[in-house]
Amino acid sequence: MADTVTITLTNRDNATYQVSPRRPLLETLREQGVDLPWGCEYGGCITCAAKLTEGEVDQRAQVALNNRQINNGYVILCVARPEGDCTLEVGVESHDTLYRNPFLDPLADHELKADIATPKDAAR
């Protein structure tokens, strides 16, 4: 694994940061002075969600996102470790498709959280 990877923040004037791939992005970006929201710091509360537009992260420890949010590109920075160079949109500005009114826009069975989702082809 590379010692550092490059993180680009599109909504922070495309600023770039070199970070370790072994530690969560919330920690490594904050250490370099990026002002980011957070709450629980264990992957359960969604406050730190950001949108990944390029690259891959390992966020297996997160329990906040449902499958629709994951498909929309959201990642939980307090537990996500970059698996290579990544491009992100961060902060509440990136939350345009994070929240939805459940009475207006219900989730399909496969869009629920991973632990209760039904795989798409088995859904009906």
Binding site: W38, G39, L65, P102, F103, P106
Partner: protein
Amino acid sequence: MTDCCGPGYASPAEAMKAPAEKLLYTIAIYTGTGIQKPDYLCTIDADPESETYSKVISRLEMPGIGDELHHMGWNACSSCFDDSSMARKYLIVPGVRSTNLHIVDCAADPRNPTLFKVISGKEIKSKTNLSAPHTVHCLGSEIIISMLGDANGNAPGGYLHLNKDFEIVGRWENSMGDIKFGYDFWYQPRHNVMVSSEWAAPNTFMPGFDLEEVGHLKYGREIHFWDFEKKEPKQTMYLGEDGLIPLEVRFHHNPDSSHGFVGAALSANIIHWWKDDAGEWQWEKIIDVENEPHPEWPIPVPGVISVILLSMDDRFLYFCNWLHGDIRQYDISDPHNPVLTGQVWMGGLLGRAPEVNGVQVTGGPQMIQLSLDGKRLYVTTSLFSTWDNQFYPEIRTNGGCMLMVNCDTEKGGMEIDPDFVVDFGKEPNGPSRCHETRYPGGDCTSDIWV
């Protein structure tokens, strides 16, 4: 209040004669708003004779960001009335996301509360394996706090026990039995009972509300009757579809009464319980708010009863339908047969009262606090940052607001006061959202008599 005694009042009837509140303490949050500032405790001038009436007169910022201040409670209440060594002096202000407990000194200068101590979330998690603090009740000179999750945000959590010097004693309960979730609780010592309700695991409710998870049993539908002295659950009432997401729990203030109520938020029902002549606990649904169709949405909108409270004389029950936008007053002199006596509208999704007192109301009526004499009901509009963002996304730019409702305690009836409004959209650091309110002298949800 007499000189001989501790905090609070000898009885609910004495509490009703206390002087009117002149200050309000209200939580305001930036968590989830996009403004990178700490949540804070506002002091609001509630003295109609004062020049700064209906204005925020001081703001106490918490040390860090992202706490999500939510509910809070006093270090002492009327349960310590006989203990002259105790005083109602400190507010315990938990951060539900961070698990930090902020102990705020409101006595040294009531108009400018100061931070006395912080018990860090890290310490609480490592010593007790608990997180997500919610309801704070004092219990004689001790303090118990319902904690909705374990250190990793899984249900059912438990109860944190603090001593009067705000040191962690450990877990309060001896057993959680088969309880699946935690939320609110209230106790009635003369019946040796505590009743607790159920929201969901922090990992379920914190990221927002997925309606579909209710059907997957990720949200509560039971209430629990505890043996209060043994500190363990004794009996569970399965409320089923009538009791989806039972939240705020209120016993009668009268310490001899066994009657109590819980608002089932998603079913939009009020559930009443009592002990029958044979000494058995019984429950029934006494109020059912119908879901309302929305012209553009496939699923009808439930009221979402996010809060209930009882007047100090136990005559009136108040509750809010946060999504519909109304506050209701019921005469519950006969608790089996409530009578609707008042209703007002502010905000909500049904568009019945988008603007009140010149302020655009974003959100719906949510937390309420009633004056001890039962005449003034203060209302705020934000529920929980992520849920606000789902249902009322404009709250990010508009902020929350606080209004006051005048309540007729003789004939019943409610009216929004035209002269009181605090617009949290105009806060100096940008729009914030207001939540629970308390008064320096105690209020209708803080005091329990032993």
